[in-house]
């Protein structure tokens, strides 16, 4: 039996986002169990633990599940991730944080137990910038970009990157912080209305997203010029603004929508069998797909570990090897029923960060779905790699960590 705890949140201020993610995560493992009899013949158990997006509860969940032979953790919270990094390092568990968490964990030389491929916050900023550059006709010179961000560690992540990019590409960056929870954003949007930026980038979470999109609609900011990071791009965020949100764009590091063969299996083995984690109405949505993506990566890493070590009941340490040598090819994705759902990943000892690429989705209000608005875009590693090296070096120094992989 393989144990992959799901530290989820279905209550609290971010429940609306936590639910579809957790459902996707659970349903994918249920699918593996029901259809394939688990991974490599071992059934997967996914004990769920409610964190309410609260770090203390997150720690409690970690402590209560870790004795159970847990193979990997995916808490979907940057705060909890920071708590867990030292703990998993000491205890020997994998912490997998796709698209969130500590960005510099992409450096496997310092962070042995943490993986955040395929992309991180800084990648996201770079991808969005490149997309906007394309929209602006190839150059952002003299343009103005406003960043509306959640005034927390998470929201502040892209600032450094964007500042570097602004210097290089000659655009002006305007910072507009929004305090938790973000119900009142009049000041920020009046400011946007006045300073008329060409583009607005959003790093938000929870209710802040909905209010921001609504306010942008209200001031008639052109939706195509309003781009959110992947955490600001779920159906929930755009729906409450109605038709006017049409055109709002978000970046994602995986596909979404119902066009993937795997959904047929999920429908058949999970939902119709009455084994779905949720009501079944979230299947194929952005956050559901993301939860499923995380589950898929973890299961592939486990498979890899089984392959490397030659037995099916793998240990947490062996799963770490699986993560580190993960080789997710296009062919494998096709096999999984997820063609072009994600970019191939070839992890190494040093590279825990993946390709750092994403694609843009535009909200189609009429059909109520996300339409792809670009092909895969890769982050500009020349800007991001030095930042990662700097931050991880600082962490290594603070914690007396010797670099690996040399």
């Amino acid at each position: 039996e393989l144990v992959v705890p799901n530290l989820s949140y279905r209550t609290g201020p971010y429940a609306a986002n936590g639910i579809p993610y957790a459902d996707g995560f659970n349903d994918y493992f249920t699918l593996l169990n029901e259809r394939d009899g688990g991974i490599g013949g071992e059934m997967v158990r996914v004990p769920e633990c409610e964190t309410a997006y609260n770090t203390e509860k997150g720690v409690e969940c970690y402590e209560s599940t870790k004795g159970d032979g847990a193979l990997a953790y995916n808490p979907l919270s940057t705060g909890i991730t920071y708590q867990l990094i030292p703990k998993v390092t000491a205890d020997g568990h994998v912490l997998y944080t796709p698209g969130y968490g500590r960005t510099s964990a992409a450096n496997g030389k310092v962070f042995e137990w943490v993986f955040n491929y395929p992309a991180n916050y800084w990648d996201g900023a770079s991808i969005i910038e490149q997309y906007l550059m394309g929209k602006a006709g190839g150059s952002l010179e003299g343009k103005k970009i406003a960043l509306v961000y959640h005034n927390s560690a998470y929201g502040k992540e892209p600032i450094r990157t964007l500042q570097e990019l602004a210097k290089r590409d000659g655009f002006e960056l305007e910072l507009l912080p929004v305090d938790h929870p973000g119900q009142e954003q009049k000041s920020q949007w009046l400011q946007v209305r006045r300073s008329k930026p060409d583009f607005v980038i959003m790093y938000g979470w929870g209710v802040m997203n909905q209010v921001a999109i609504q306010e942008a609609v209200n001031i008639r900011f052109p939706m195509e010029n309003f781009v959110g990071i992947w955490w600001s791009g779920s159906e929930n965020d755009v729906r409450s603004a109605g038709d006017k949100a049409d055109g709002y764009t978000t970046v994602s590091f995986h596909g979404t929508g119902m066009d993937f063969p795997v959904y047929g299996d999920i429908q058949k083995y999970v939902i119709d069998a009455g084994k779905a984690a949720g009501a079944g109405d979230e299947v194929g949505t952005m956050l559901y797909s993301r939860g499923m993506y995380a589950a898929m990566i973890i299961s592939e890493a486990i498979r890899k570990a089984q392959e490397i070590h030659g037995h099916s009941a793998v240990t947490p340490a062996e799963v770490r090897d699986g993560f580190e040598q993960l080789d997710l090819t296009e062919a494998r994705l096709n096999e999984l029923g997820l063609p072009n759902f994600a970019q191939p990943i070839q992890a190494t000892c040093a590279d825990h960060g993946g390709p750092g690429s994403g694609l843009m989705y535009k909200w189609n209000a009429a059909d109520g779905k996300w339409d792809a608005a670009s092909d895969w875009i890769s982050a500009d590693s020349s800007v991001i790699d030095p930042l990662i090296a700097e931050d991880s070096a600082a962490f290594a120094k603070e914690n007396n960590i010797a670099e690996r992989c040399n």
Partner: protein, 329 residues
């Protein structure tokens, strides 16, 4: 006119509008405080619960669907009907009255004559309970709330001001509706509490539970009455805020925006709620514009509202319109 002045004028107007929205929430607090000396922390959750109920009724959701499904293994979600907005609002108001009756019966009745802080804590307990209850009853996903209120920029104001100053002011239609509703509510409630017999009884209860009992005021009736009204006010606030952000847990946090308003206007004054709201709304927006954003890195609104209220309080410890705190020996 210089640009910054025009802009400041626009920000001020929007501040006024935001203030009205805060006042809507603060009103609920004032009512209950006035009638029982209870600082009702659950007011925010009440607004959430009211909005959830409204949406649930409107969309024909099956209450407790999740619980039922978990127990029976079925898949209930919705009834095959939708309810017109107005009817749904009336039904939701009815639910709030029922809730008031239950709260009186299960909680308040047993806490007559207790210290204010105990009552305050009881309302926090209630807030927890209601939050969980609302989730179980209606689910914790985001719901869009649409009762047909206009939203978005008001074209008339935009074009009029554009013609006058060459700069169109932005005022949200929803805010205008909220302002009208708030003013009506405040006027009605002020008349009720100052000039009616029930209003007088309500203030008596706030002063001294026991003495009120001894002259034959039925605490039960007064409390049900006020909590029902407060529930209705919460419903109105829930509609306004919910239209903007969808209905979800965070809606209950608007209470935090109302507290400085309450403090500044005075816990016991209905007109104080609106005046306090306006001052806070304008104050925090202007501060953010003129000092917060340019010099302090922004996002100052949350604390500034409190600090502003605090400064007022140092000069008037009972708030602008609150009843003077009687200090005698």
């Amino acid at each position: 006119m210089p640009d910054i002045v025009l802009y400041a004028a626009e920000v001020t107007l929007n501040g006024l509008m935001a203030g009205v929205l805060y006042a809507l929430v603060a009103l609920g607090f004032v009512l209950i405080f006035k009638a029982s000396g209870i600082f009702n922390y659950a007011q925010g959750v009440l607004a959430l619960f009211a909005a959830l109920t409204l949406v649930g009724i409107q969309k024909g959701q099956v209450p407790f669907a999740h619980l039922l499904n978990a127990m029976t293994g079925k898949h209930y979600t919705n009834f095959p009907w939708e309810v017109p907005a107005l009817v749904a609002i009336l039904l939701a108001a009815g639910v709030m009255v029922v809730l008031a009756i239950i709260i009186e019966k299960l909680v308040l009745k047993h806490l007559v004559n207790q210290a204010p802080i105990i009552l305050f804590m009881a309302t926090i307990g209630m807030a927890y309970f209601l939050e969980g209850f609302g989730d179980v009853m209606w689910g914790s996903d985001i719901k869009t709330l649409d009762v047909g209120l206009p939203q978005g920029i008001n074209e008339t104001i935009d074009s009029v001001t554009y013609n006058m100053f060459g700069y169109g002011f932005f005022i949200d239609n929803l805010d205008i509706v909220a302002a009208v509703v708030a003013v009506l509510l405040v006027a009605a409630l002020t008349v009720f509490s100052q000039y009616s017999k029930q209003g007088r009884a309500l203030r008596a209860v706030a002063d001294d539970h026991q003495a009120a009992l001894s002259v034959g005021i039925s605490l039960r009736f007064i409390w049900i009455l006020v909590w029902s009204i407060a529930g209705f006010v919460a419903l109105v606030a829930g509609i306004m805020w919910g239209s903007k952000s969808g209905v979800q847990f965070s809606l209950s946090l608007i209470a935090l925006k109302a507290l400085p308003v309450l403090m500044l206007g005075g816990f016991t004054s209905i007109p104080g709620a609106i005046v306090g709201g306006l001052i806070i709304g304008v104050g925090e927006k202007l501060f953010e514009l003129l000092i917060g954003a340019p010099f302090l890195g922004g996002a100052t609104e949350n604390w500034f509202a409190y600090v502003l209220a605090l400064v007022f309080l140092v000069f008037r410890p009972q708030g602008l319109f609150g009843e003077k705190i009687i200090e005698r020996v």
